[in-house]
Symmetry: C2
Subunit: 221 residues, 2 copies
């Protein structure tokens, strides 16, 4: 019985990591569909989101079953309750990737990102993908020290967001109101990707150490 | 032991409802600080957010303690796991209220909402407050039928969001790029308030019935 329980728990963590890889692909494909722009890639991100939502439901159900049937305590209780939250964070990232892809689709064959901000968005998407990879790697290796690096990477996102507001509100901005709105919302979606990655790292640290990391850069968001 | 456990569980639900009332106040005060505009009210929403974050941590800790010490099953397990999620949703609404208040503060003594959209935002805030009240009431009364009305109310939010994009992108829009960005982000924040209220109602229905409501209007968000 206990052996099968540990198999189930390990299976759950494997599924979680698999989901994280799918989310990484969704985020990077959404960014590509926006910057190329590429309609087929945008459509794929949008239609694949239902798969992530289904994984969310299935993994949450498996977590609840483990809680109900095994009544875990201590580190295992922390792991399962945190897994519920990590799955939710990953599903939200998938939703945000679909939001980004929908804006790409809406503006196709134009790009919703003006030339003056291509580099900014390209870097934002790289940073987001790196954050998801770091979260996933730290979960896989149970490496709290790696997860702690997340807050550092997140600083670059803050800078990138400030930079693009600087472009939007600067005197050289020549785009339309529509473009400005697209950029502001896209920037918000990328900022939220990063927030969710930080939240995953926060939970990974909690799983491993039993303590949440402290400080303003680790909001419980 | 069991009596004290039930006391704790009921105390948890009372605290949850108390938190929901504080969130309702935060949302309505944030909207007022934006529309008046009122600097003191904006500052109060921003500084009170840390209280909601502290409640989030404390209530989550109480849920985990109940899970660990009492190993609840069936309806009680559902209730406690759902409570963790509801507390999170409420805390996110508090964060969003602080975001709204920060935009109000940034533009003070001007209003971030142009006259042509005052009515739209005023109604959005009313609908959000009504949604939080409905979620809280249905939790208090364990009334799944009331919670089901949430998806209906959420439709009005969708209409209001479309209306304000119509104004922003219409030929009569005479505001600046900065104003358009403020409105787009504020609209997004109000839309997310509503999403979180729907998520709370979804969990309330799950607590009561053991089933999640189905259909596109009930995303797992």
């Amino acid at each position: 019985m206990r052996a099968s329980y540990h198999e189930e728990l390990n299976g759950l963590l494997d599924s979680l990591q698999h989901m994280a890889v799918l989310v990484e692909v969704a985020v990077s494909e959404a960014a590509a569909s926006l910057l190329e722009p590429d309609l087929a890639r945008a459509e794929a991100v949008i239609s694949n989101d239902s798969q992530l939502d289904a994984m969310h439901e299935e993994l949450e159900y498996r977590c609840l079953s483990l809680l109900a049937l095994q009544a875990p305590v201590a580190g295992e209780l922390r792991t399962i309750v945190s897994a519920i939250r990590v799955v939710f964070e990953l599903a939200r990232m998938g939703d945000l990737a679909a939001h980004v892809a929908k804006i790409a689709r809406l503006r196709f064959p134009d790009s919703a990102v003006p030339d003056s901000l291509r580099e900014n968005f390209s870097r934002m998407s790289e940073v987001c993908v790196a954050m998801i990879q770091l979260a996933n790697q730290s979960l896989k290796d149970r490496d709290a020290v790696a997860a702690l690096r997340m807050a550092e990477i997140d600083h670059e996102m803050d800078h990138l967001r400030r930079d693009h507001f600087g472009v939007l509100l600067g005197k050289n901005w020549s785009g339309s109101v529509e473009q400005a709105i697209d950029v502001a919302l896209l920037g918000r979606y990328f900022e939220r990707f990063a927030d969710h990655a930080v939240a995953v790292a926060r939970r990974v640290i909690y799983i491993i150490t039993g303590q949440f990391p402290e400080g303003e850069e680790w909001p419980n968001a």
